[in-house]
Symmetry: C2
Subunit: 164 residues, 2 copies
Amino acid sequence: MSSLVFTPMTRADFTLFWPDFKAIVEARETYAIDSDIDFESAYALWCQAPKATFAVKDQDGTLLGAYYLKANAQGPGGHVCNCGYMVNATARGKGVARAMCEHSQRIARELDFKAMQFNAVVATNTVAVALWQQLGFAIVGTVPAAFCHARHGLVDIHVMHKAL
Amino acid sequence: MSSLVFTPMTRADFTLFWPDFKAIVEARETYAIDSDIDFESAYALWCQAPKATFAVKDQDGTLLGAYYLKANAQGPGGHVCNCGYMVNATARGKGVARAMCEHSQRIARELDFKAMQFNAVVATNTVAVALWQQLGFAIVGTVPAAFCHARHGLVDIHVMHKAL
């Protein structure tokens, strides 16, 4: 998808993003986040705790998605980062997630991270698993029955990793 | 090891434990925690953020170690718990870690957790890996070069898991 614009996510951006965030966690299909999380907790989780959070918009300024980037661990584990990506419902299937992941890898290298790790890619989210694999991530572990999916019940999660 | 006494960890217990906690993180061999963490941050990490924290003492009241138990994720991942265990330097090799892990599994079941997951067992910590395996944990993933070990440089970490 061409002509995407990445900017550090503001509180105003997050306010626009919030209905999509809420819908994604309420679906209980992809994120291990409480489905009844409130706005302030979500804002803290997505925009304040991470090292960086970006909004992605089209040329008209329409918000398409957002991602955060943070250290996955501290101290001797601090060279590995972790990201989470969400695409707005109206912007799916247009390469927004791919563009966000590629952007996040550039930012991670600029921040001197040496690897990126996803801790909980829900195994039934095959579109995401395939996309991350296309982008060079490997499944380095699978935790059985670690996610209680709204439709499928207990499903596995994958740990995915890429050296940067 | 017989006659161990487990009690919810108090701030006074943590104050006694602090030199051992500090030595363990400064060693940079087993925990992905900043080696320059201060007391209050360590207390928050070990005793306030977790769902439960236990001190283990001998019959004379001497502190031998401590562990925390918390949910490893939220929402659809909230049925899996995570623990961290530390044994005081003077109490190593006496079965304290084994006793703590067994105790933590009982507490986890009481709290209705369905599984226990360790996210970052340092691969060079072969004593711990073997002990967790003896206690029924499986290595379900290995993340390459995710821990910068003080003596060995970049080493792998294992994700370990046990259904409860």
